[in-house]
Structure formats: structure tokens, C-alpha cells
């Protein structure tokens, strides 16, 4: 296999992932607005297209054509780089998530993931730690006090919850014995009692800790102190308008989908699901359907949490992360490693 062949495959996948992220975000924003509206006994967007489904596109077009206002006191270069730095890690994370069953084309096996890395999980952690830069730079380069406060808050929060997130993933790696996303999905193949999937849901404390820190990592309610309107206006992106604001918005929603998709891949069996003995022309699409359905179920949980929980206070947020989540995940690592060792090697006295 020549190098260029690999190169073109990678290029096609990169473009496909980019398109998929954009389309998913468009649906996601509409989905969130409709669900929140339903929960608050409103209709939500109804005008653009049937049930307002084109609302996001209309908003996007509006943002692109708006005047991009650049305040006078910004650090110009970093101010311009920050929105891009927000979106790039989000797309790079999505690159390693397998969204469907691998298929063969000619004599090559093609994974339905941007790149099937051996170190997928660590790569995801690395990229999400790089995502902090966008927030820090946007807040600082804006040259204004509310964005700076918002960015300090956001980055402190992201760094804190990243620790809990990383610790929550340790039992998953120990249990499946790999950090590759596709192998973690493979480890969850098969079923239990004929109909229940053999998912990593057995690691339910990890699942809960990971999802909570995921909500905090994306700066969503109830951890959205970053954009607490009554204290610090709009947070780190206060000084951005037009398309640059749209990039931050896009990154936030792409990250929501990323967290949902990673959770599905790690704990809920990835693209595995029943195919009901469907004929081939349907069966090939079912894994993608299951993956999307499960991911959107978790996205629904994101929206649900946002619609029902009030915002936390900053000290509560920090105390929850450091004094509850991290000790609990450390305890869970010890417990699960003992359990896994017993499962592999047997009891110590036998």
C-alpha cells in the first residue's frame, strides 16, 4: 500500500468527518431548542421550514453575514486565532470515534472512523486538554474584564474536571485492556441472555463520573458559570460577533456531541445493536443508526439536565469536582482493579 493511497483515504475521511460534525451540530441545536421548549411548555422555533427545522441554518446564515466587530483593545492575532483554536480540537476528537461497522472495499478494510488510533482514548484526553487554550486566549485577547474573568473560570473548571474525566477512564482501559476506540467497541460485541448487549455499562460508576465531568468540560448547565449572564455578561466570547462567535458556538455543540459519542463508544456498546435479521441493504446502515440513536439519547440527557437544574455556585462547582468526583473515582479505580484482577487471575488464596 503506497503512502499516497493512505494519504487520500485520510483526506477523504477528514472532509467527511468535518461535514458530519457540521450537519450533526445543525440538527443538535434545533433538537435542543425544541426539547427545551417542550419542557417549558412552549413551541420553540416554528417558522423556518417544517417544525422550524431550518432555524439553525437561518441563524448560521445570519451570523455569517453579520458585521464582524473587532473591539479596539484586542490583541489582534490571538483574538483571531482563538475561535479557530476552539473548533479544531472538537473536530479532531470526533476523528477517532468509530461511528459504524468497518467494511471492505476491494481488498482493504475501511474503518468508519477518521483514524483508528492505537491510543485513541489518550488522544481524546490530549485534545480536550488542548481545547482549554481557545478559552484562555479568547478571554485574554479580548482586552476586556468580563471575558477575562469568564475565561479564568472556564479554564479552571475545565482543568479540574479533566482530572476526574481521566480517572474515570482508567477502569475502562483496565477492563477492556486497550485504549483503541475500535477495540473497545469490539470488546462490547455479543449479547447477554439473548437480547441484552454486553456493554461496559457494568462500569456504571465510571459512566456516571465520565458523563458528569463531560457536562462540566463542555461548560454546560448546571456547570455553565462561564457564561453566567447576571455576573459576567457572556463569558469569554463576549467580545466576539458574527462568524467568529458562530465558531465558538459550533465548537460548544460539537463538544456536546463528542462527549455523548465517546460515552456511547466506551460504555453503551458503540455502534452495536440488534439488526432483527434485516436484509443486507438495510443492515449496513443499522450500526450507524444505532450509534446516532444512542448518541442523541445522551444529547437529550444533556438538554434535560439543562432544562431542570439550576446553575451551581463557583465554590460548589470546585468543591464538587475536587472533593467528591475525584475521591470517588480514585476509590472506584481501586475497587475495579481488584475486581478485574480477581476475574483474570482468580482469588489470591486459590
Amino acid at each position: 500500500m503506497s503512502g499516497w493511497e493512505l494519504f487520500f483515504e485520510a483526506a477523504i475521511k477528514a472532509v467527511a468527518v468535518f461535514a458530519l460534525v457540521l450537519v450533526t451540530v445543525i440538527i443538535l441545536v434545533w433538537f435542543e431548542r425544541k426539547v427545551v421548549a417542550d419542557m417549558q411548555n412552549r413551541l420553540g422555533p416554528m417558522r423556518a421550514g417544517p417544525w422550524g427545522i431550518l432555524q439553525t441554518i437561518a441563524d448560521g446564515v445570519k451570523l455569517i453575514f453579520k458585521e464582524p466587530v473587532v473591539p479596539r483593545k484586542v490583541e489582534y492575532a490571538l483574538y483571531m486565532v482563538a475561535p479557530i483554536a476552539a473548533l479544531v480540537p472538537a473536530i479532531l476528537i470526533f476523528m477517532v470515534i468509530p461511528i459504524g461497522e468497518p467494511f471492505t472495499l476491494g481488498d482493504r478494510v475501511i474503518n468508519l472512523a477518521g483514524a483508528d488510533l492505537n491510543i485513541g482514548l489518550l488522544y481524546i484526553l490530549a485534545m480536550s486538554s488542548v481545547a482549554v487554550y481557545a478559552v484562555v486566549l479568547a478571554g485574554w485577547a479580548s482586552g476586556s474584564k468580563y471575558p477575562l474573568l469568564g475565561s479564568v473560570r472556564a479554564s479552571a473548571q475545565m482543568i479540574s474536571y479533566e482530572a476526574a474525566m481521566g480517572l474515570a477512564l482508567v477502569p475502562v482501559v483496565m477492563f477492556t485492556g486497550t485504549t483503541s476506540m475500535s477495540k473497545i467497541v469490539d470488546a462490547q460485541a455479543g449479547d447477554f441472555l439473548g437480547f441484552l448487549g454486553v456493554w461496559n455499562i457494568i462500569l456504571i460508576p465510571s459512566f456516571i463520573i465520565f458523563f458528569i465531568s463531560g457536562v462540566a468540560e463542555t461548560n454546560r448547565a448546571p456547570f455553565d458559570l462561564v457564561e453566567a449572564e447576571n455576573e459576567i455578561v457572556g463569558g469569554y466570547h463576549t467580545e466576539y460577533s458574527g462568524f467568529r462567535f458562530a465558531l465558538f458556538f459550533l465548537a460548544e455543540y460539537a463538544n456536546i456531541f463528542n462527549i455523548s459519542a465517546i460515552t456511547v463508544t466506551l460504555f453503551l456498546g458503540g455502534w452495536h445493536g440488534p439488526n432483527f435479521g434485516a436484509p443486507d441493504w438495510i443492515a449496513w446502515a443499522l450500526p450507524i443508526f444505532w450509534f446516532m440513536a444512542k448518541s442523541f439519547m445522551l444529547v437529550f440527557v444533556f438538554v434535560w439536565i439543562r432544562a431542570s437544574l439550576p446553575r451551581m455556585r463557583y465554590d460548589q462547582l470546585m468543591a464538587f469536582g475536587w472533593k467528591k468526583l475525584i475521591p470517588v473515582s480514585l476509590l472506584w479505580i481501586v475497587l475495579s482493579s481488584v475486581a478485574i484482577a480477581v476475574r483474570r487471575l482468580g482469588l489470591p488464596w486459590t
Binding site: 493512505l6 490571538l78 491510543i119 484562555v136 482543568i159 475536587w322
Partner: protein, 189 residues
């Protein structure tokens, strides 16, 4: 011309640009961003050499943790100050010229030597399994000793920050909590 070479040229240029920015920028935040660029480019070089784990750790620890800390310190302490450009060491420039010349000579001499290259393509050395085997098998004791050393350093820095002259400083306790576990996770890795 293979794609590997193209990637190398692009990221070598990026690494050099980052290094130049680091030295030349007036504003320390830009210097930090230059260093970040160099570090990420280094990670790409590790990937090109099949050391995927090292590459990710490079991004995770250096770009993700260490540089964020740097950036915080720079932004919160010296936002508006420009560095003084007064040269304090006598004959600074000639000394630097001699040292730089020596370094370039060394690089050229190193390039003339035939290095022992690991036979690429058989088993990549930098995979997570190989590193784990070495770390938790062959080098278990030194690894544990390093963990102990780093933990002692972390605890020591906390003790220095919190207890000054036997008295506990209450205001330090209310400070940012993220410094201590960052150091600890560095030790555990």
C-alpha cells in the same frame, strides 16, 4: 517525494517558526504560544517515528498541562509589562555568537556520524504495550522511586506555600486548587 517527508517539512518549519517566535516576541503570551507550536510539532515528529504514546503524552503533559500553567502565570502576573531589553551580561552578543556557532558545528558533526537506527517496520517501539512492559516489568523499581520523588516534591512545594515560618497561611489555602493535583498526576503517569 513521499507524504512522510511533506509532513516532516511542514512541521519542521512550524517548529522553527515557533522557536523563533518564542525568542523574538515582545509579549510573553506570544512567546508561550510559540513554545506551544514547537511542542505540538515535536509531537508530530514522534508520530512520524512510530512513537504514538510518546506523542500523545507530549501533547497531554507539555501542551496541555505545563503550558496552560505557564500561560496562566504570564497572563495573571505580567499582562502589560514588556521585557526590559537591557543587556546585563558583559559581551553578551559575542558569547552568544560563539556558542551558536559551536552548536551549529555540533549539529553538522552529528549529521556525519552513522547512527544506529532501530529497524523500522517490524515492531514499533513506542506503542503503549511496549512502554507498559518496560515500565511495569523491567524498570518497576526505578519507576516507583520516581513516583515517590515527584510526590515528595509536590508535597514539599505545598508545605512551603502553606506554612511560612511555622504559621499556617490561611489566605494561601483559599488559592487556586489546581496546582497540586497537576503535579501529582505528573508523578502518577
Amino acid at each position: 517525494m513521499n507524504p512522510e517527508l511533506v509532513v516532516f517539512i511542514v512541521f519542521a518549519a512550524a517548529a522553527l517558526a515557533g522557536a523563533v517566535t518564542l525568542v523574538a516576541a515582545r509579549n510573553p503570551v506570544y512567546s508561550a504560544m510559540g513554545l506551544l507550536l514547537t511542542m505540538v510539532s515535536m509531537a508530530v515528529f514522534y508520530v512520524l517515528n512510530d512513537a504514538h504514546f510518546v506523542a500523545v503524552v507530549q501533547v497531554l503533559i507539555y501542551a496541555g498541562a505545563v503550558m496552560t500553567l505557564f500561560l496562566f502565570v504570564i497572563m495573571l502576573i505580567g499582562v502589560d509589562k514588556e521585557e526590559s531589553r537591557e543587556e546585563k551580561i558583559p559581551y553578551q552578543r559575542p558569547i552568544v555568537a560563539v556558542l551558536a556557532g559551536g552548536l551549529i558545528m555540533l549539529v553538522f558533526l552529528a549529521g556525519r556520524t552513522a547512527w544506529v537506527v532501530f529497524d523500522n517496520g517490524v515492531t514499533p517501539v513506542g506503542t503503549i504495550e511496549n512502554i507498559a512492559d518496560e515500565l511495569f516489568g523491567t524498570w518497576m523499581l526505578p519507576f516507583q522511586a520516581t513516583i515517590l520523588l515527584l510526590t515528595i516534591a509536590a508535597v514539599g512545594s505545598l508545605a512551603l506555600a502553606l506554612y511560612q515560618g511555622g504559621a499556617r497561611v490561611e489566605s494561601a489555602l483559599a488559592g487556586e486548587p489546581e496546582d497540586e493535583p497537576a503535579a501529582e498526576s505528573g508523578g502518577g503517569e
